[in-house]
Symmetry: C2
Amino acid sequence: MKMSAHGAALDYAGDHKQELLDDLIALLKIPSISTLPEYKEDLEQAGTWIADRLTSLGFEKAGLLPTEGHPVVYGEHLKAGSDAPTILVYGHYDVQPPDPLDEWVTEPFDPQVRDDNIYARGASDMKGQIVASLRAVEAMVHSEGLPVNIKYMLEGEEEIGSPNLSAFILKHAELLASDFCLNCDSMIQDPETPSITYTLRGLTYFELRIRGAKSDLHSGMFGGAIDNPANVLTELIAGMRDKDGRITIPGFYDNVRPLTEAERQEMVSKPDSWWLEQTGAKSLFGDEEYSANERATARPTFDVNGLLSGFTGEGSKTVLPARAMAKISMRLVPDQRPEEIEEKLRAYLTANSPPTVSWELENLSSCLPSISERDSESVRAAIKAFDAVWGKKPVFTRQGGSVPVVGLIQDLLGVESLIMGFGLPDDNLHAPNEKQHLPNLYRGIETYIHFMHEIAKGA
Amino acid sequence: MKMSAHGAALDYAGDHKQELLDDLIALLKIPSISTLPEYKEDLEQAGTWIADRLTSLGFEKAGLLPTEGHPVVYGEHLKAGSDAPTILVYGHYDVQPPDPLDEWVTEPFDPQVRDDNIYARGASDMKGQIVASLRAVEAMVHSEGLPVNIKYMLEGEEEIGSPNLSAFILKHAELLASDFCLNCDSMIQDPETPSITYTLRGLTYFELRIRGAKSDLHSGMFGGAIDNPANVLTELIAGMRDKDGRITIPGFYDNVRPLTEAERQEMVSKPDSWWLEQTGAKSLFGDEEYSANERATARPTFDVNGLLSGFTGEGSKTVLPARAMAKISMRLVPDQRPEEIEEKLRAYLTANSPPTVSWELENLSSCLPSISERDSESVRAAIKAFDAVWGKKPVFTRQGGSVPVVGLIQDLLGVESLIMGFGLPDDNLHAPNEKQHLPNLYRGIETYIHFMHEIAKGA
């Protein structure tokens, strides 16, 4: 590899591993939690940290562009000339809340290296990927120069469903014009198995609120005569899936595109033991017509993400609660659409909620599922880049998560996304003890360098 | 009434209404919340306030007697002589937590009088009743003297299920020896309808905890392959009652003593409109074989008192929670027993919980249902006392709530309880804006004075 045209960039990357760690620790220390309003200034601080780094790498217009919510980090490096391809690099600098706090081995915003991993909220999702891409750019800038034009667009609201991103993209469509998008918010199969994600599940996420009496009641005085919204909530939710995890909202599967036998054959399946080891669950769950891997990536789901009602402190309080709330979400697969699923959910609630209570359903976020082209120029470049670093071709995988921006960028800018990041499936995303495997990042930087050069050559 | 032997006591009570209010406000200001450990000192302060008052009324041995938890207020006034009856006055000086705080019109521990009511946590349950009994004693002490011997036993743990009361009673059985117990923790039907409670429902209260993966997971990565304990919790709870409120835990009704036609005839039923007005519920709920009044007082129930799982803040977090918790309780009627119900609940959970999760059930409190003798000396005295003050005989009512101490005192001291307090069914017990109707307390003081004299005469 050192003999390639970009050997100097690879050498630079190899010589500056400590700086990767320093950068990562600096960025991970900033609690840029977009879900909680009290972290607004931390979001700005994280965005500014990245924008300053872009400036120091010779990017122009580098800074924070406002939205109705948290700002977008933008910066452009267009010195490769108008004949060279232009890549829009997408990522997000916000992170999930760290709770439950008591399950973290070390503090979520005090990054710690143990073995080959760095532990902190956002390490894998996705500050690790942002820093890897910046270090790849730095390696090229400090050696042969960037062979392509690059525009960075890093949002601060991915973890709250990107509520202001489409308005932002529409407003700045000209600025963001590019040949394709490199989406770094992703992972590979395992440290020795590079992979390219070709499908993503969609998502639709709701808060369901049930209201009974005008205020909490004494369960001894009113229990039996007045309905209990917490009981009703459990009944409504229980009615939406069966014991095998099949969703029983009428019509839910109407638009699910069946998996072809060929697709099922080529899917790289993790063994059942992997799922159990990763999660510590007692046993696997779900419709046995499909493998665990298929159920987690290629089939839709219905999950309760939160429950709250009545008295939840220590001890007992004999309250008949006035209200009960659930956060519920469905992962969607092609060709389901969030608005169609919301309609079916509302029809179910209308048909099944008893006259004793009232209900309210709020859609908190939604995004379309997506399937990408598998023989584009960017995919061919990615295959060569992975091969150069790992010595093997990547496998194609479906990803169970949702990356709303992929559909959005396709819709609004008319470009495809190549999804290439270097997290791992066991990184504890959105959970305590989130980590990033550091060797993945070192290889990731090399892969990005190879990739940019393959793109420049026209793969 | 002024012509009776105890006219001076009644006059004294009439002349000191302001002091009732002053006393009540002083006691209500102390947040003696037994559920929450941080209020330990407030409990002690409330107990001391009452003990000091007993001392000033000439009670001996007045003070706080320790238990494993919060202390018991004790004091005895035995100057009526060994031929006079001895009454054990039972009550509790602890209160429920005030949450949800934002639904209170005025602060829960800053008592405020509006119209004829005083609003504060504990106003009706049951500091109002304690203060009324003390004011009745004061009126007699300051006039003709007490015609009976009185022992006060006021616990500080009623709202957490009286975990240390049976040990206390056993230890002090000799000290507590009496002819019967006057339990002031109660209410009358409405301001113009005095009533005597002759049955109480029992209670058994649990925390049910479901555990799935070892930590919270990303619902995109694992949803579909790994079960969700919050979904499982809703399914288990939903399976325990049907849409008419009938409990479907196998065998749950086995030991329910059927209501006789005669009992049903004589039950004073509040109209359906009363239940709707009191609660603001959209419609009534429950098995239509029984009236709302019967369902709330003479039939068992199953209620969810609290739910907690996953992410419950603002916005969305796509978490697949590792744990889910529910507080659930059943009101029991004769001849159900808490330990029998727990056994049936455990059998249900064993049979119905899926292999994907583990569950844990903790019993947080339990008490037996009770039915009292309706033609005892104390009941006859109470009828005469109510008649003297209200000009009408009391009705007999069933109460839907649970007063564990009634069964306990019967078991351990061998004496019956007369339940006589002056709250109202719409006092918002255990809920925001708890209140006490002040005219009820003025009449209550007079009723207690008449009652003590009727007892002294041998009703």
